[in-house]
């Protein structure tokens, strides 16, 4: 099929509908408002439900209800709105409910700015809600990748009964790029025998719950969740490595900063400095081993992390590199985007040139 020009937020919404999402609950906030706008226009035509909730908190709890009843469901917001959803996300994890949550990040903290940022990495990968829980967090870098990953996001959510977050920065939501709609077949998924779909007097009722008041029972529940997170960590790490052979500098970046890093690598190449880019696509589970191996190559003199934050993912880079190579950081926060030249200069400084 011929390529079309899509705006990121519209593509997110369309890809979700194509992935079988039939319930969307959300509340507008820049820079993601085109998602609910698109859903409002197109979800009813797909036979689904669009509801603009009275708040982000209501939306995430509607997600809990719809998911508990077995629906493919999504919500989206941007940073301050995602903060409001944290309680609901913790409950979804506790009750083992699948859902897709899209965060089109803007600058923070607090209300911050409406321009693009990546300051919600800790919240997404460490949890902004209470308790021992994890989300699968996917961080695409192009609109094509957003579209391609959306089916996977819903499938992974159902497969592991876990919320999956799409972690994007505002530029991905707002920019236009060519998209080719390739059909990704749905994964072979089991029936949702746990969903509250009515017993028909033929089985005991299913109960969706995150309350385990007996400490031993709650402990067993946590250990069961932990076992699930271990399986996800084993099976679902995703990353991309570009031009790492003989690289002196290894950039590490997720989302659009990976594109800045690739542009910086080209500038360095013109000066005779080889630079590669390691791009985590799943930021939880984080591809620690793959990054450790890439950084461990003899040619690599410095690892340079690029983020639209004051340094969050760099903690995971340090865990991965584990002291075998120096780890440097360049970033801007609050909606300012470094130029490829600034990124290239940071790499040169890291090399002592």
């Amino acid at each position: 099929m011929a390529k079309e020009l899509w705006k990121g937020n519209e593509a997110i919404a369309e890809a979700a509908i194509r992935a079988g999402c039939r319930c969307y609950f959300g509340y507008p906030i820049t820079p993601q408002s085109e998602i609910p706008e698109y859903m409002a226009k197109h979800m009813p035509a797909a036979g689904g439900v669009f509801l603009q909730s009275e708040s982000e908190i209501a939306a995430i709890n509607m997600v809990y209800g719809a998911s508990g009843a077995g629906a493919r469901v999504m919500t989206s917001s941007s940073s301050p709105g995602i903060s409001l959803k944290q309680e609901g996300i913790s409950y979804l994890c506790g009750a083992e409910l699948p859902a897709v949550i899209v965060n089109v990040m803007r600058g923070g903290p607090g209300l911050g700015t409406i321009q693009a940022a990546q300051g919600d990495y800790f919240q997404a990968t460490r949890g902004g809600g209470n308790g021992d829980y994890r989300l699968i967090v996917l961080a695409p870098a192009t609109i094509q990748e957003v579209v391609d990953l959306m089916q996977d996001a819903f499938d992974l959510a159902d497969k592991y009964r876990i919320p999956v977050m799409m972690l994007l920065d505002g530029m991905i939501g707002q920019m236009m790029e060519p998209v080719e709609w390739t059909h990704t077949p749905a994964a072979d998924l089991p029936e949702k025998s746990w969903a509250t779909t009515g017993t028909n007097n033929e089985r005991p009722p299913n109960i969706i719950n995150s309350l385990f008041i007996d400490p031993d029972e709650c402990n067993r529940h946590n250990l069961k969740l932990e076992e699930k997170y271990r399986r996800i960590t084993e099976n679902e790490q995703r990353f991309e490595i570009t031009d790492a052979d003989e690289a002196e500098v290894l950039f590490v970046a997720y989302g659009t900063p990976a594109r800045l890093a690739r542009a910086a690598a080209r500038l360095l190449g013109e000066e005779g400095i080889k630079a590669g880019v390691f791009r985590p696509i799943s930021v939880w589970p984080y591809p620690y081993d793959a990054l450790h191996e890439a950084a461990g190559k003899e040619s690599v003199k410095a690892v340079v992390t690029v983020e639209l934050s004051t340094g969050q993912m760099v903690d995971d880079v340090r865990i991965a590199v584990n002291g075998i190579k120096p780890v440097h950081f360049i970033g801007q926060a609050g909606g300012v985007v470094p130029t490829p030249r600034e990124v290239a200069d940071a790499a040169k400084k890291a090399l002592g040139r």
Partner: protein, 238 residues
């Protein structure tokens, strides 16, 4: 290619059609033709990838710029009072870049008395590669909605068909056919077919709209890395 001679030229269309790129290039072409030119960014829809990001280049060309509050990057897009000056300043030619969707044209309704009093054109940009622009019926419905919300009549179409950096000649030619057919049904002219300068020699005799060659000014931050020796070389000047 003939440049507009009316006092005000307004550009509307769905977001992502290439309106802003065309508006910026049109302003520069007019300024280089020694006309006093203003670019008015009245986009109240989209706070990203705005013409104001090219403020330095535009001001270097002598173009006067008016933009919504917070340099177009705010969450509450208040319209500055000085926009009114473009209707009063005789001898000034203004280009008004509206926000995307019919909703983006709503802001124009506030200037109905001023616009009715000056000669103006109101062009609708069409990009065949945008899903919303594929169906001629939908384009016509959007034009009617744009007219209703803006309280002004569309006076011409502009073919801005592109596919970002993957644009090829056939995109421009197919878009030209598509826009010309819609314009024909509406009894309106297809004023320009817009395309990057590199397509000019091949495209200009094949298209129905007058070919309007553009440079790409609205680039993404990582594309700055390709500036040296590439199509964004102009960004490295000085």
């Amino acid at each position: 290619m003939k440049l507009p001679d009316k006092a005000v030229t307004i550009i509307a269309g769905h977001y992502g059609t290439g309106k802003t790129e065309f508006a910026v290039n049109l302003a520069i072409a007019m300024a280089r033709d020694k006309r006093r030119t203003a670019l008015v960014d009245l986009d109240i829809i989209n706070p990203y990838f705005r013409s104001i990001e090219r403020k330095a280049e535009l001001e270097k060309e002598g173009i006067i710029i008016h933009v919504t509050s917070h340099g177009g990057k705010g969450d509450t897009p208040a319209i500055p009072a000085e926009v009114m000056s473009v209707f009063a300043d005789t001898g000034l030619q203004s280009i008004i870049d509206l926000g995307g969707d019919p909703g983006g044209a709503r802001v124009l309704g506030a200037y109905k008395p001023q616009l009715d009093a000056v000669p103006h054109d109101f062009w609708y940009a069409v990009n065949l590669n945008r899903p919303e622009n594929r169906d001629p019926e939908k384009v016509i419905a959007d034009i009617r909605e744009t007219e209703k919300l803006s309280r002004q009549k569309i006076t011409g179409l502009v073919n801005t068909t592109h596919l970002g950096r993957e644009t090829v000649l056939s995109d421009i030619l197919k878009g030209d056919e598509h826009a010309a057919a819609i314009a024909g049904r509406l009894g309106l002219p297809l004023v320009y077919t817009v395309g990057e300068r590199k397509f000019e020699s091949e495209a200009k005799d094949l298209v129905k709209g007058s070919f309007f060659p553009i440079n790409i000014y609205m680039i993404k931050p990582w594309e700055l890395g390709d500036a040296k020796g590439g199509q964004f070389e102009w960004l490295l000047e000085e």
